[in-house]
């Protein structure tokens, strides 16, 4: 395996697929020696497995939590990130200016857990961590529902595969604690996917803190309140944005009777974590934590624009099947996922000039 930095200026990371546990472990130790970085060691981050990927373009939808994650990063990029993160930790509330540009290319996997916590402003957040521990001792009325959902969350991922294994146990605890923390939203199906994505990068207490911030500070919980009223508003907004930015597709969808609630519930409610390959899920969470809740619109439109050509050829059933099967499969490669992020960022810039 070659770990040298990429020669392409556009590809600071190099995608190398690890084929075995031994190789994976070797990669981990090499990388740690390169960066000598503090990572959430002995935690799920290390267990991000190279999920068996069915490379054929079959008819099967991807299971949540599947896909290969690039864990190799060039030394230059890692050093740059490392410097930023160290400085950032000294003054956690002033976000480094260079950060945005770096994030558009994805946070190095080894630093992701820390950077997510810094972005969400919960780095070493003691109060919330204490609350978490306290909540775990309480009775939880939603327990039966949560228990039924745990094994249906990221079933493709080794960490969450085993019944009553560490992954499922952590997922249960976070979901339980959140349902008690947020009396209004309680436990709502969809949250477990987001919690699972976070758990792959940090210990459960920290993952709980980031989840709370995403729901409250980033405003994701507004979607779940009052019978999903705000979600319906988001669907309407997405429809309007499509008319402006994917006009042809909007017309086509109207002609074949496709409406956003038929395909976008998961996008909004789980932050794209429930259907897409892990690498893309992580890129999206990177961007969401850096840019905020409008990221969901930027990604949604970028997804639609990306597949416009294909979608325009399809009828009602074809479109729905495309969203279920082909669209998530499209982002199994890192380059496609990264292109999508770049397109979403372009839309963000465009929106900034138009709507502000």
């Amino acid at each position: 395996m070659d770990e040298g930095p990429s020669t392409s200026s556009e590809a600071p990371y190099r995608l190398l697929r690890c084929e075995s546990v031994t190789e994976r472990e070797r990669t981990m130790s090499t990388r740690q020696s390169v960066g000598a970085l503090r990572s959430p060691t002995k935690l799920p981050s290390q267990l991000i497995h190279m999920a068996d990927e069915n490379d054929s373009d079959g008819d099967e939808p991807l299971l949540s939590g599947s896909g290969t994650v690039n864990r190799i990063v060039s030394e230059d990029v890692l050093t740059e990130w490392q410097e930023i993160v160290e400085k950032w930790k000294e003054d956690q509330f002033s976000r480094p200016s260079k950060l945005s540009d770096l994030i558009y290319n994805g946070i190095p996997d080894i630093l992701r857990g820390e950077v997510w916590q810094l972005l969400a402003k919960v780095y070493k957040e003691e109060d919330l961590s204490n609350t978490y521990r306290m909540l775990l001792d309480k009775e939880c009325p939603s327990e039966p529902v949560i228990l039924r959902d745990i094994h249906r969350t990221f079933p493709a991922h080794d960490f969450f595969k085993e019944s009553n294994g560490v992954g499922q146990e952590s997922l249960f605890k976070i979901s339980k604690a959140y349902s008690l923390y947020d009396e209004e939203v309680n436990y709502c199906q969809g949250l477990s996917f987001l919690a699972a994505a976070l758990l792959l990068h940090m210990p459960e207490e920290q993952a709980f803190c980031v989840l709370v911030k995403i729901m409250f500070d980033y405003g994701l919980r507004d979607l779940f309140k009052l019978g999903f009223d705000a979600l319906h508003l988001r669907f309407y907004q997405l429809e309007r944005l499509m008319q402006d930015y994917c006009h042809e597709l909007a017309e086509h969808f109207a002609a074949v009777s496709i409406e956003p609630h038929m395909f976008a519930s998961q996008w909004f409610l789980t932050l794209f974590t429930a259907k897409f390959p892990l690498q893309m899920v992580f890129f999206i969470v990177d961007l969401f934590l850096a840019e905020g809740v409008n990221t969901i619109f930027h990604i949604s439109l970028a997804l639609l624009q990306d597949s416009k050509k294909e979608l325009l050829q399809l009828d009602f059933e074809g479109v729905l099947k495309y969203f279920r099967v082909a669209l998530p499969r499209r982002y199994r490669t890192e380059s496609n996922a990264k292109d999508l992020i770049h397109n979403a960022v372009k839309l963000k810039v465009l929106f900034f000039f138009i709507y502000i």
């Binding site: 299971l63 949540s64 529902v145 039924r148 959902d149 094994h151 249906r152 969350t153 079933p155 309680n186 709502c188 199906q189 969809g190 477990s192 996917f193 779940f224 019978g227 999903f228 009223d229 979600l231 319906h232 609630h261 038929m262 519930s265 998961q266 409610l269 789980t270 429930a274 259907k275 009602f316 059933e317 729905l320 099947k321 279920r324």
Partner: protein, 214 residues
């Protein structure tokens, strides 16, 4: 592929009763023990034959958690058939049927055919709801009833197809206005207005209703 009619269905019921597995067994003829939780809605479709006619079924599978009902509700209107599913190994899913039924009746057209399904019939040892109880509930509320197993495929075809037969019968009786898509029924694109509802059973109400081809 061309079809004579298109019927829209919705599958409802508590979380974890096997709605998605029933749909997968019907559309793909397989059981997937490990699968994703349904968020919002999912969709599946299959062609069946009734009375020598090709009928396309388009099926919405919904999230079961109570809070998702505001999303599910928009799918009742425009459904000709509903599969209301409970789990024979969980009494609570049977106890919630009344509330599901109220919701369905309130938001759907009054002719929607509702099939009550007691799923997981393969788990006889863990049964909490007797078959007779399901039958009695169905009788009381005017539903068709069946016990199924999405795992072994027992009665799964029958559940979807018998619902379609009931809808088809209602069309022939002239109960459904097939020109109003809000009823969850659509005439096939290539079917002439002369014969789509001509009653093979000799029902006099069948003919002549299909004025406009869509």
């Amino acid at each position: 592929m061309s079809y004579a009619y298109l019927f829209k269905y919705i599958i409802i019921g508590d979380t974890g009763v096997g709605k998605s597995c029933l749909l997968l067994q019907f559309t793909d003829k397989r059981f997937q023990p490990v699968h994703d939780l349904t968020i919002g809605v999912e969709f599946g479709a299959r062609m069946i034959t009734i009375d020598g006619k090709q009928i396309k079924l388009q099926i919405w599978d919904t999230a079961g958690q109570e809070s998702f009902r505001s999303i599910t509700r928009s799918y009742y209107r425009g459904a000709a058939g509903a599969l209301l599913v409970y789990d024979i190994t969980r009494r609570d899913t049977f106890n919630h049927l009344t509330s599901w039924l109220e919701d369905a009746r309130q938001h759907s057209n009054s002719n929607m055919v509702i099939m009550l399904i007691g799923n997981k019939s393969d788990l006889e040892a863990r049964r909490e709801v007797k078959k007779e109880e399901g039958e009695a509930f169905a009788r009381e509320h005017g539903l068709v009833f069946m016990e199924t197993s999405a795992k072994t495929a027992a009665n799964v075809e029958e559940a979807f197809i018998d619902t379609a037969k009931e809808i088809y019968r209602k069309i022939q009786e002239g109960v459904f206005d097939i020109n109003n898509e809000a009823n969850g029924i659509k005439l096939g694109p290539q079917h002439s207005p002369n014969s789509p509802t001509s009653p093979s059973s000799g029902n006099p109400l069948g003919g002549g209703r299909a004025g406009n081809c869509c």
